[in-house]
């Protein structure tokens, strides 16, 4: 029970690593930096494994397991402890975070080998891990917010890692500020939550809502308001419409960063938060619908953008946005487990995709534009195969991890407690598009003729410390989903079963039962008799699979079979094409509607107008008036004695009149 009692160790290790590398690393050799950077993360990964071992021994009553360390904030009624908690959900997240980041760290040691600021990079990465773990382990909203903002900070620092590039610096800033806008909602949500429940501890809050009925879907009840506000934070952090704009730009950062932060972990924080707050969300149907709707819309919308991207990383970025959409869709329709499940699988395959993409870029000397690639299949086999597996996974081809998770989500969307057929459709089409652009990516990159200059660029497979992580991740992208496999043949979904206690507790009684009978409900909706074989058959021939395959074929048609077709389609589509090509002009619209007006007003109206003209004008004006008056008064002092005498007489007359007036009044 050592780690359970000393959860803080898991946090402290990466923090220490960050501190060491950050303060001293600059002067150390790479080896030492690696030792500290990677060492700390691997240690905390081991801790997590040990933690799991200890965790399984806990009785159900002891979960979630709390551990309070010290009182962090205390003013009046407002008390926040630095306390950590562990439950199944935490375990999953811990596992994903530490595992993926360990791999990414290892990968980076190869990828960043030739970059300046090596130590800085690792210290930031470690710091990120620290904050991410804080976020996951926290027992109250405030502590969660610490992690929440902390990962944002690290993402800011890492996106802008190559700060000499203005684009990178801009991207970092954009990321931080955009997410901050979401955090505006998140903060207010916390405020509201505190005044509604007089506490910010998950436990206490859940206790209080436990015996509350669900609010009506019509009005903005307290819970609904809180949930919506919190969700605003998630929208920012997890790059959903309308705040997704920062994520594509975030690709300015080094590829490992994109893999770890902008694919596997940080961006999923929103999903985790929603899942964590499920007792509230489950009681706020309106909020639920909102989450689902935003998720589905994003899933579809950014998939469409992904279709036309030519920068390999941008494609992945939009696909990430889209996949996050699926996770929210899952949570939104009440299938939290499915959402988290997808979170995990996505962490594997999307992490892999990014790393592989990085390896590709690494291989052909920093080129990111797919139009300048092609035919790499032979040259970098490891990368190719691993990437292909990941693609199959994300496309949802049966048997691969993505298939299981995405399938669950879509089923829930169709037949779940909060099912909504339109959202399901959106998701479905999105899935099709996903597989299309992913295979487009594969074909453009690895097939066809080399479109790069073979004389200057000599392609080479990446070093071992990069390829090994790829392989490991590839393995998990394949098997990662099998936890749920039995479910296909009517058996239990082990993953869901594992998380069940979390989502059952405080859940609405109704919702829980639906949770359990989810699969059944879904299959009933499909209207097919219960027999393992049929189940399997149905699942593997279900709509998702079909659209996935369609997407694959379409991509094949466009980029292998008839390479010219793409161009023709482009001509025929014209306007629509340009719209999508320019990402629906969203950045431009934001710029024109929000940013530039704001700056203009601040400069001309507020600063020059109010500050300088109005207020200072008034201030200096009074001063001028005083001097003017002085100037006038001194004129009286004409220097002429007769004038003076007259003034004396004026005084005499004036005062005598005054006196007599008062005298007669009496």
């Amino acid at each position: 029970m050592f780690i359970l009692h000393h959860l803080w160790i898991i946090l402290l290790l990466p923090l220490a690593g960050a501190a060491l590398n950050g303060v001293l690393g600059a002067k150390w050799p790479k080896a030492a930096v690696n030792a500290i950077g990677i060492g700390s993360v691997s240690l905390s990964f081991l801790c997590v494994l040990e933690l799991i071992r200890e965790f399984v021994h806990l009785g159900a009553s002891q979960v979630p397991y709390f551990q309070k360390y010290f009182n962090w904030i205390s003013a009046g009624r407002f008390n926040v402890d630095f306390a950590l908690q562990v439950d199944q959900l935490t375990i999953v997240m811990l596992l994903v975070v530490t595992f993926v980041s360990l791999l990414v760290h290892i990968y980076s040691s190869g990828y960043m080998a030739h970059e300046g600021g090596y130590a800085r990079f690792f210290s930031f990465m470690n710091l990120f891990v620290f904050f991410m773990l804080t976020l996951v382990l926290s027992t109250n909203l405030i502590l969660m917010f610490v992690g929440w903002e902390g990962v944002g900070l690290c993402s800011y620092l890492l996106i802008g890692f190559w700060f000499l590039k203005d684009s990178a610096a801009d991207a970092g800033k954009k990321a931080f500020i955009t997410t901050r806008i979401g955090d505006f909602g998140f903060t207010v949500g916390i405020l509201l939550a505190f005044w509604a429940f007089n506490s910010v501890d998950f436990g206490t809050i859940f206790q209080q809502v436990a015996n509350r009925p669900a609010e009506s879907a019509a009005g903005f009840g307290t819970l609904t308001t809180i949930c919506l506000l919190l969700f605003a934070g998630a929208v920012g952090k997890s790059a959903q419409i309308p705040l997704y704009v920062w994520l594509p730009d975030a690709m300015e950062g080094p590829t490992p960063v994109s893999a770890l932060i902008h694919a596997a972990t940080m961006v999923t924080a929103g999903v985790y938060m929603v899942a964590r707050m499920h007792p509230l969300f489950s009681r706020a149907p309106l909020a639920m619908f909102f989450v689902a709707a935003v998720g589905a819309a994003t899933a579809f919308y950014s998939a469409t953008i992904g279709v036309l991207q030519t920068d390999i990383k941008k494609v992945l970025a939009y696909s990430t946005v889209s996949q996050l959409g699926y996770m929210f869709l899952g949570c939104g329709v009440g299938a939290y487990a499915a959402g988290i499940f997808h979170l995990m699988t996505h962490a594997f395959f999307k992490g892999l995709l990014f790393l592989a993409a990085g390896s590709v870029i690494h291989a052909i000397g920093g080129e990111q534009d797919m139009r300048k690639m092609g035919g790499l299949r032979k040259k970098i086999p490891v990368t190719y195969w691993t990437m292909l597996l990941a693609t199959l996974a994300i496309a949802g081809i049966p048997g691969f991890a993505g298939f299981f998770s995405k399938d669950e989500i879509l089923e829930a969307a169709r037949g779940g407690p909060h099912a909504n057929v339109w959202l399901w459709l959106l998701g479905l089409v999105g899935a099709g598009i996903t597989s299309f652009y992913m295979f487009r990516l594969i074909f453009l990159t690895f097939f066809g003729k080399p479109r790069y200059d073979e004389k200057t660029v000599h392609v080479h497979e990446s070093p071992r410390n990069m390829t090994v992580p790829l392989m490991i991740l590839a393995f998990f992208s394949v098997v990662g989903g099998w936890l749920a496999a039995p479910h296909l043949i009517g058996g239990t979904d082990y993953f869901e079963a594992f998380l069940h206690p979390v989502f059952a507790s405080y859940g609405l009684p109704a919702a829980v039962s639906q949770q359990e009978s989810l699969a059944g409900a879904a299959s009933e909706a499909a209207g097919i008799a219960h027999s393992p074989g049929m189940e399997l058959l149905h699942s593997v021939t279900g709509w998702p699979v079909i659209v996935a395959v369609l997407g694959l074929l379409l991509a094949w048609w466009f980029y292998i079979r008839k390479p010219g077709a793409a161009k023709r389609a482009k001509e025929s589509l014209g306007g629509l094409y340009r719209l999508v090509w320019n990402k629906y002009y969203v950045d431009e619209i934001y710029g024109a509607l929000i940013i530039r007006p704001l700056l203009w007003i601040s400069t001309n109206v507020l600063w020059h107008g109010v500050d300088e003209t109005l207020i200072d004008g008034a201030v200096n004006g009074t001063a001028r008036v005083a001097r003017e008056a002085g100037g006038q008064l001194r004129e009286i002092q004409s220097g002429n004695a007769r004038t003076y005498a007259t003034w004396v007489v004026v005084g005499a007359v004036g005062f005598s009149i005054l006196l007599f007036a008062l005298w007669m009044v009496r």
Binding site: W72, S74, A75, G76, F78, F145, A169, F176, F220, I615
Partner: protein, 560 residues
């Protein structure tokens, strides 16, 4: 009452010893002048730490009091501290050595005068924080002006004279009216029982509390206005802030540090110490307006800061924004938000002080504040820029750094009494990210645009020392906030006592049912409660019932 120890007197006047010592030095002997100044302020800091030992955090009243007859006519030499002033004193003694250190080399002209001014101003500021006699308070209050006037006017930059005169006239205008109010209060102080008139603050407070001094609504409002105006100008609250950017831009680094770090707090401290407890009814009547002004200040300051070309001016405007939070926290009249306000004062002192130090270090190297002149500095001076980044983060209230705690406490507390206020204020938090990061990016990131910046020296050991100290404090205050808040809790509650009394009175009148009590509270309450009520109704239609009681009572935080 007056304990035997004279710790406070020592703390207050120790710097003057330094001044004396320096006076005896030849004005050319810069080295020793600096050393003595530093030694004096450092000793001052250490001694001030003893306050913590003597301080009993359970006691809400004034402690370590000293009381001697002085001028007579109710004017006495009365010192004392409570949880609110305690840390402000320490903040002062903490920042002054840093200010001295940072002007170690940058001040070349008339070194003697400069350090004397710094020490004098330290004494004056501490005096303001510890004096419990309105007269004494006013004396110190005015005394802070002249040294700062000289610091800005003599060692400042190009438009220093304009800035100096603007600063001093602005402030004097406010304070002179406060003097009138103080005298007026003195004349009222005999009260119904015809007791001896007095300037003694606790005494007056007691008499007011006991209802011995009948204050008509208008009188109270006028008095409040006079006091508040003086403090508002100092803070500065929104429409009265225009002296601040000029003063900051023109002041030398140390001047800005002291000005932003401590002098602005004199205003907020004054509000908290005098305006609120003395004139509760007036406060309740004025709260809506002032709260609005504070919020305008928050957003306005942030927006204007965003578009500044001059780094120092930018930081100055951030002060407007941050102190808007403090004022908001105070006038939310809620135990949490008030503790937050006090805490935020300290944070702002540390963070903004640090920001000004960094800006000053840049100035020492390049002799300009123009952001255009910088750019890409992260390459030649990584360490300095790292500190800059860190400080900026603390200033934009990134958890778990100090700024976050203060800001969040204010927001939490404010939300309890006025939803919309808190929501607006939160937007300020978002904006702070924008202006700070943008500024930081323009200074630190990108390629080096100006040739001169190619090989600027990175932070020297002295500078590293200064900044490291501040960074440490920033983290410490972010992690160990209870060490502070526990000591201020009682006093912060004390500030609200009059309001609780009012509220209890209302409770008594209405019947027990919470909701009804709330309703009557609205009915009997002057403006703010009603406003609060309306706004909240406006924002969240059918908002939760249980919290609504605490929402109405201005002192929700106090009675758990």
């Amino acid at each position: 009452m007056p304990a035997g120890n004279h710790l406070l007197t020592v703390v207050t006047f120790l710097p003057m010893l330094g001044v004396l010592a320096i006076l005896f030095l030849k004005s050319t002997d810069h080295v020793w002048i600096r050393r003595i100044a530093l030694a004096a302020s450092a000793a001052e800091f250490i001694i001030s730490l003893f306050l913590l030992r003597g301080f009993n955090s359970a006691d809400p009243g004034f402690q370590l009091q000293e009381l001697h007859d002085w001028i007579g006519r109710g004017i006495r030499y009365h010192l004392g501290i409570d949880g609110i002033s305690l840390f402000l004193v320490i903040l002062t003694t903490f920042l002054t050595p840093l200010a001295i250190l940072c002007s170690w080399e940058s001040i070349r002209k008339n070194v003697k005068g400069f350090f004397i001014s710094l020490l004098v101003i330290e004494t004056a500021m501490i005096g303001v924080f510890v004096s419990l006699d309105l007269f004494l308070f006013f004396v110190f209050w005015e005394l802070t002006l002249i040294p700062m006037y000289f610091i800005v006017g003599v060692w400042g930059h190009d438009r220093r004279i304009y800035a100096a005169i603007k600063f001093i006239l602005y402030t004097m205008f406010g304070s002179i009216l406060m003097l009138v109010a103080i005298l007026w209060l003195y004349n009222l102080s005999p009260g119904t029982r015809g007791m001896a008139p007095t300037f003694d603050f606790p005494e007056i407070l007691a008499r007011l509390g006991a209802g011995l001094i009948p204050l008509s609504g208008t009188t109270e409002l006028l008095l409040f206005a006079a006091f508040f105006l003086a403090f508002a100008i100092k803070v500065p609250v929104f429409p009265l802030h225009t002296w601040l950017p000029d003063a900051h831009t023109e002041a030398p680094t140390a001047g800005s540090v002291i000005l932003a770090g401590v002098m602005l707090k004199l205003g907020t401290y004054g509000i908290l110490r005098f305006c609120v407890p003395l004139f509760p009814h007036a406060v309740l009547r004025a709260a809506p307006i002032i709260g609005t002004l504070a919020i305008i200040g928050i957003v306005y300051g942030a927006l204007v800061a965003t578009v500044q070309h001059d780094l120092k001016r930018l930081v100055a405007y951030t002060s407007v924004s941050h102190l808007g939070f403090v004022v908001l926290g105070i006038f939310a009249l809620n135990a949490i938000s008030i503790q937050g306000a006090v805490y935020q004062m300290l944070n702002h002192g540390v963070s903004t002080g640090a920001l000004f130090l960094v800006v000053g270090m840049l100035y020492d190297r390049r002799h300009t504040h123009e952001i255009k002149q910088f750019g890409g500095l992260a390459t030649p001076m990584p360490v300095l820029m790292a500190f800059f980044c860190f400080i900026a983060l603390s200033s934009l209230a990134l958890p778990p750094l100090n700024g976050f705690i203060g800001e969040f406490l204010i927001l939490i507390g404010t939300f309890g009494t006025h939803h919309t206020w808190a929501v607006w204020a939160t937007s300020g938090a978002v904006l702070s990210a924008i202006y700070l990061l943008w500024a930081y990016q323009r200074v630190a990131f990108g390629k080096i645009t100006v040739e001169k910046n190619q090989k600027l020296p990175d932070a020297s050991l002295r500078e590293k020392l200064i900044l490291a100290t501040l960074a440490a404090v920033i983290i410490f205050m972010g992690v160990a906030s209870p060490l502070f808040t526990h000591r201020m809790a009682a006093s912060a509650g004390n500030v609200l006592r009059p309001f609780n009394q009012m509220q209890n009175a209302m409770r008594a009148k209405a019947n027990h049912h919470a909701a009804l009590a709330a309703v009557t509270a609205r009915a009997r309450h002057p403006e703010p409660a009603r406003r609060g009520g309306r706004s909240e109704a406006a924002t969240h239609g059918s908002l939760f019932v249980p919290a609504s009681v605490s929402m109405l009572s201005p002192s929700a935080g106090l009675n758990p």
